[in-house]
């Protein structure tokens, strides 16, 4: 297109000069409106991986402690006991997940067991909607949980769009997880260069559409046009800077998705949420053949391993966590087709330098099943979202409750959030965190925060209530603290630790395992 024609088209679709463009490949200015140069997030990044179709949790994380029961329910498709990659004496992984073993050993990989929700729905589509919107089983929400988070993090959108996209999805059909009252908030594309080429020449505009249903659809189209125009240049610019060196080929096309994401992170894009998708988990038949479930898990593990190694190489690993999710697990019993039908709760996998590591919760019980013969959930999926929002993104409890529509307790899967320095805020609550590691031997770390200055007592007790140790007994100012506790002189067992200040008291349990 000739330059003059280009500018002309622009004027007409945008209204006067609201958007400038890159001409002949030189980015000039990429934003529809001036933006304030402030970071609206704490610099942390979440990479969501959607395993579409319902990942078979019992062939992902193997309950070695109930192996005979496991293999009797899955004689054809069960993972052989000797083939499983042992994480602990009780728990193994599918052999395809071997590339994640080292991350596990380094405390950078967490398995969260039995995640689901009450009254589980076995429809792919309804259950996916529940996971994406973070709704109850009988509640219908029209926005996504990430969409709600982003509007909290970027309250001035769309009037003042942030300099980098709020969310990026690799793909061409935008996920409902990014839906919000301000429209879909993610920029989606397959590849930054191709995206940049495509976008040169379109734009948004500001004409108010008529007040009909048709007008509502026109408004939607204009918003999408506007998002592509705003961000194509900065995405290409950051992709050109980033230089991932790990090998993603074993990850297949999924590996390419994670490679694009790491490329943008390394290039300095501050986008807080990414979504990559892997299809093919609806394994109703022949799921153990090499190119079915085993291959999917191989690609997942190899891609994550490469991704993590690039982040570590460039010193960005403490910014990012990866979280996998799927609409449901599968039936405990295999079916006659060498596959599994739609089930319920399943493990979620969490990877990152700042995750707590290890296994959260015990293996799925193969005897205590629901009335449909499926696994009972032990952790609500929204507790994971709450933990990410609070402990990774540093949202307050109030904000998290707002985003998730009601309160969910967090679980200790992320190490204490540390905001970026220029964004430092005093803690807005009096809190005592779960010790880490837990169980521990012999040392562990206890973190707490004070909203107001005051006299602080932090003691350790045994099960009978006898005081074992005094960790803190002094006046402290408001802020976040961390103390270490060493139990080398104590015997294995459960202990309590308790903090008291300003008439308030919080206690937590910890386990010493020698």
């Amino acid at each position: 297109m000739k330059r003059r024609e280009f500018i002309k088209n622009l004027g007409m679709v945008t209204g006067a000069g609201a958007v400038t463009f890159s001409i002949a490949g030189i980015p000039i200015k990429a934003f529809a409106k001036p933006f304030m140069n402030i970071q609206s997030t704490n610099g942390k990044i979440l990479v969501l991986i959607q395993l579409k179709g319902g990942n078979d949790g019992l062939n992902t994380i193997i309950p070695l402690d109930q192996y005979s029961s496991y293999i009797s329910k899955r004689p054809v498709i069960g993972v052989a006991e000797t083939a499983a990659v042992k994480l602990t004496n009780q728990t193994g992984m599918h052999p395809s997940l071997l590339p994640l073993k080292q991350l596990y050993d380094e405390g950078k990989f967490t398995v969260i067991q039995n995640v689901g929700y009450s009254n589980p729905n076995r429809s792919h589509f309804r259950s996916t909607d529940i996971w994406l919107s973070a709704s109850d089983y009988n509640q219908f929400l029209y926005d996504g949980w990430v969409g709600r988070y982003l509007l909290k993090a970027f309250p001035n959108y769309p009037n003042t769009p942030p300099p980098h996209p709020m969310a990026i999805q690799i793909g061409s059909v935008q996920s409902g997880v990014f839906d919000s009252t301000q429209g879909g908030l993610a920029v989606s594309f397959n590849n930054p260069d191709e995206f940049y080429t495509l976008v040169s020449g379109i734009s948004a505009d500001t004409d108010p559409p008529p007040a009909t249903l048709a007008g509502v659809e026109l408004k939607f189209l204009k918003e999408v046009a506007s998002l592509s125009v705003q961000y194509a240049s900065v995405i290409k610019e950051k992709a050109d800077i980033g230089n991932p060196v790990a090998n993603y080929t074993a990850g297949g096309t999924f590996g390419s998705q994670l490679k694009i994401i790491v490329d943008l992170i390394l290039g300095g894009l501050t986008t807080p949420v990414y979504l990559a998708t892997m299809d093919g988990f609806d394994t109703h038949s022949n799921q153990t053949v090499a190119n079915s479930h085993p291959l999917l898990l191989t690609r997942l593990a190899e891609s994550i391993k490469a991704f993590q190694s690039d982040l570590e190489k460039y010193g960005l690993a403490d910014k990012v966590v990866i979280l996998t999710f799927s609409e449901f697990g599968r039936r405990v019993n295999e079916n006659a087709s060498g596959g599994t039908d739609h089930g319920t709760a399943a493990p979620m996998l969490l990877v990152g330098k700042n995750v707590q590591g290890g296994i959260f919760g015990s293996n799925a019980s193969l005897t205590d099943l629901d009335n449909n013969g499926d696994i009972k959930f032990k952790v609500d999926f929204r507790q994971i979202y709450a933990s990410i929002l609070k402990d990774h993104f540093g949202m307050t409890t109030n904000e998290v409750d707002n985003i998730l529509i009601k309160h969910f307790d967090t679980i200790p899967i992320i190490k204490a959030a540390t905001g970026v320095e220029n964004d430092y805020e005093l803690p807005n609550e009096f809190a005592l965190k779960q010790n880490y590691p837990n169980p521990f031997n012999p040392a562990t770390k206890i973190e707490y925060s004070l909203r107001e200055p005051g006299d602080v007592k932090l003691f350790v007790y045994d099960l009978l209530g006898k005081k074992i140790a005094t960790l803190v007994d002094s006046f402290q100012s408001a802020g976040s603290y961390s103390v270490n506790f060493n139990g080398s002189s104590l015997s294995s067992g459960t202990y309590f630790y308790s903090i008291e200040t300003g008439g308030q008291k919080i206690s937590k349990k910890m386990i010493l395992m020698k």
Partner: protein, 472 residues
């Protein structure tokens, strides 16, 4: 609008109404199609043209040779990619050259309702058998069609009916039959699924001759209790049971899908309830339902006109038809261009993304696909050169097909009305006019002036880049 008049027949049959019906029924239409429709009455045009029963088209061929009845064997398998593509091109051709029939839109609707994915087995003969079934029932009886689909070979493979036996019934088809094909979530229990799965056992597929085979030894002939009724149900009586026990749920579920496809993606409950009553009183025959919908007042209201985002295949084919770019099966280069572009716009015929099918409407549009649509329409204006043949809008000839071609203001009025269903604002028309005039005075405009062709091309590019052009 008063909801009690939703299904009333529209009182005015004019060019706006004709364009709306044509845009929702066909894959693109021209000025002369509008003229033709208006030579008929509304009833005549809808019932005797759009919904007319047509003869079955001849089957697709590859390089002039038949393949749809050939068996599945290793020798034939080497041709499957070519056969599959010939079927895609054949369907494109039917979509574009169907005359005034709604049939191909219904075939596509049924393909997206009773979903199977070619990728699950990659045997093109199977998809042809299914496509032919949908065409046969395009205006037919939904209960009969549901029974046929239940034992359709592609469906038996896709949703594992072929491996479901009395000793271990596979629940996949039983669930989707109720959740996605007939009554929708909330109208059955998990136990109904298990019992339904038993009723559907016994069917397998002959992988060589590509036909469904009933094998008594695999069938569960015991009693099943579905929706509280107990009998020795088989696939036929179990499907009948869905419609006899759950007629309201089934009719409302199916009318919702029709409404989403032809009217607007967010169903209007009052409208759906009324249309479902029409469906029940016509014993689930599609033709009277479609006829009522196409003529109804609410279907023609300002809410609905121009509110539908064009699905990719329709968008791509309609642009060719609207611009009079010839599309012949003899030369497959252009078909191939449309096919690959449709892939990148996320609609691969015979390969919907999952068993729910394409969600449609807003899911068609992302920051990735919107610009890709623009570059396609740009390419038709600038000229798409493939194998040394250029496919291109002839801007001058096209413009001169309008009687107003020499009067700039009226021409913009007429050409936007014809090409864009959404009511365009005056500001939009003004800016399109200024693009076409390109700095010259309005009274100097003539398609015979120097550079008119170039200026018209700018106009058409800009027009088709508009968000409004994505709507129909």
């Amino acid at each position: 609008m008063d909801t009690s008049t939703y299904l009333n027949k529209i009182s005015v049959w004019d060019a706006d109404a004709a364009r709306h019906i044509l845009s929702r029924s066909l894959f693109g239409f021209t000025k002369s199609d509008v003229t033709f429709a208006l030579t008929k009455t509304l009833d005549d045009f809808v019932d005797n043209f759009l919904l007319k029963d047509l003869a079955e088209p001849s089957a697709p061929k590859y390089s002039g040779a038949d393949w749809v009845n050939l068996p599945n064997n290793t020798a034939n398998q080497t041709n499957y990619t070519n056969w599959f593509r010939s079927m895609v091109y054949w369907w494109f051709d039917l979509m574009l050259n169907q005359g005034y029939s709604l049939r191909e839109k219904m075939v596509l609707f049924l393909h997206n309702h009773f979903v199977s994915e070619y990728g699950a087995f990659q045997i093109p003969q199977f998809m042809y058998i299914q496509n032919k079934l949908f065409r046969q029932y395009a205006f037919g009886n939904l209960i009969d069609l549901t029974k046929k689909v239940t034992i359709d070979p592609a469906m038996l493979i896709y949703l594992n009916g072929n491996v479901s036996t009395k000793t271990a019934p596979n629940e996949n088809y039983a669930r989707e039959l109720q959740e996605l094909f007939t009554i929708g979530i909330g109208n059955y229990t998990e136990e109904d699924i298990k019992q339904m799965a038993k009723a559907l056992t016994g069917w397998t597929v002959d992988g060589t001759n590509l036909i469904s085979v009933f094998n008594t030894s695999r069938a569960d002939t015991g009693l099943k209790t579905i929706y509280g009724k107990t009998a020795n149900y088989n696939y036929d009586t179990a499907v009948s049971l869905i419609f006899s026990e759950k007629p309201i749920a089934a009719s409302e579920f199916l009318c919702k899908k029709l409404y989403k496809e032809f009217a607007y993606y967010e169903p209007n409950a009052a409208y759906v309830t009324q249309l479902a009553a029409v469906m029940r009183s016509n014993n689930f025959n599609l033709k009277p339902v479609l006829s009522t919908m196409l003529k109804s007042e609410y279907f023609h209201s300002a809410d609905i006109r121009g509110a539908r985002i064009k699905p990719p295949v329709e968008f791509l084919l309609a642009a060719l038809k609207q611009l009079n770019i010839s599309f012949s099966t003899a030369n497959q280069d252009l078909q191939n261009y449309v096919r690959t572009t449709a892939d990148s716009l996320q609609q691969t015929l015979f390969n919907p993304p999952d068993v729910r099918g394409w969600e449609g409407q807003r899911k068609w549009i992302s920051t990735n696909t919107y610009p890709a649509r623009n570059s396609y329409t740009d390419s038709l204006v600038a000229g798409k050169k493939i194998n040394n043949i250029t496919y291109k809008l002839d801007a001058l000839t096209y413009a001169r097909s309008y009687s107003s071609s020499e009067q700039a203001v009226q021409f913009i009025e007429d050409v936007t009305k014809q090409l864009i269903q959404f009511p365009l604002s005056q500001a939009r028309k003004d800016s399109l006019l200024s693009i076409m005039l390109d700095g010259s005075a309005v009274y100097d405009w003539s398609t015979y002036s120097v550079g008119a062709s170039t200026r018209l091309e700018k106009l058409f590019k800009a027009l088709m880049r508009l968000p409004e052009f994505q709507l129909s």
